[in-house]
């Protein structure tokens, strides 16, 4: 790829990067900031991009580093509130009867690759993450997208391990339901 082609590719990637940054940070201004920093870093470092990976993969890698830098610097970006003591989550509790049985059987999702190879699946996935309450969305993205270990996340956020575990559970259950409703169970597929 020559320099001009990389410039064009970076400009095209911007909206997608912003969408993901917003999912993680839940704040438009901060998302704009980290994406700008990411694109500048990519432009400055474009000689180092030897085409060894997809340009998208390379730039998303830079974005992850920039977001983690923000977290490390501390400050407002890291605001994740732990759950209040004994708080329930109706959306998750509604999935089970009082005796712990599921209210409805989960659907068979079929071959993972069939979904993971489709752009539209990732569209639905992002829409579902967006629907999570902010704190659940942030903590889930930290764990599953930034791939930070859970004990480190809890420690950085000052949330107890138990609280953190409950948040992860709720985020995963809500996301599973949303995907099942909007992708795996959708008749349009």
């Amino acid at each position: 790829m020559d320099a001009a082609a990389i410039d064009r590719a970076l400009a095209e990637l911007r909206p997608g990067l912003l969408r993901i940054a917003r999912l993680q940070l839940r704040n438009d201004a901060w998302a704009e900031d980290v994406v700008s920093e990411t694109l500048i870093a990519a432009l400055e470092g474009r000689e180092r991009f030897g085409g060894q990976s997809q340009i998208k993969t390379w730039v998303v890698g830079i974005l992850k580093h920039k977001i983690i830098d923000h977290f490390r610097r501390g400050g407002r970006e890291v605001s994740v509130e732990g759950l209040a003591e004994d708080s329930g989550d109706d959306a998750v509790e509604a999935l089970f009867h009082a005796d712990g049985h599921r209210v409805s059987r989960p659907l068979e999702w079929g071959d993972p690759e069939a979904s993971l190879s489709q752009v539209q699946f990732f569209d639905v996935l992002q829409a579902c993450i967006d629907q999570l309450p902010d704190s659940l969305g942030r903590i889930f993205m930290m764990r599953e997208w930034l791939e930070i270990e859970t004990p480190e996340i809890c420690k950085e956020l000052g949330i107890s391990a138990t609280n953190c575990g409950v948040m992860m559970f709720r985020a995963r259950m809500r996301l599973r339901e949303c995907l099942e409703m909007n992708w795996f169970g959708a008749a349009s597929r």
């Binding site: 997608g16 998208k56 993969t57 998303v60 712990g100 993972p112 979904s115 575990g165 995963r172």
Partner: protein, 62 residues
């Protein structure tokens, strides 16, 4: 299934599945989960679905 020293409910099995994605389970809980999954298709499905969600998240954006 109701919770007992050996049996776990689906609700609790879901919690253990989530917990296991963040850290290795202590042996007794790992064993109870394993036993539950052997006999419960619904929870086995959820187990695979959580794995799929993880793979998807790792690919998000790339």
């Amino acid at each position: 299934m109701k919770n007992g020293w050996i049996r776990v409910s689906c609700n609790h099995a879901h919690e253990l599945l989530s917990e296991r994605m963040d850290k290795p389970l202590p042996r007794d809980r790992a064993w109870r989960l394993w036993l539950h999954l052997r006999f419960c298709d619904a929870c086995s499905r959820v187990e695979r679905q959580l794995e799929l969600m993880r793979s998807a998240m790792r690919r998000l954006g790339s």
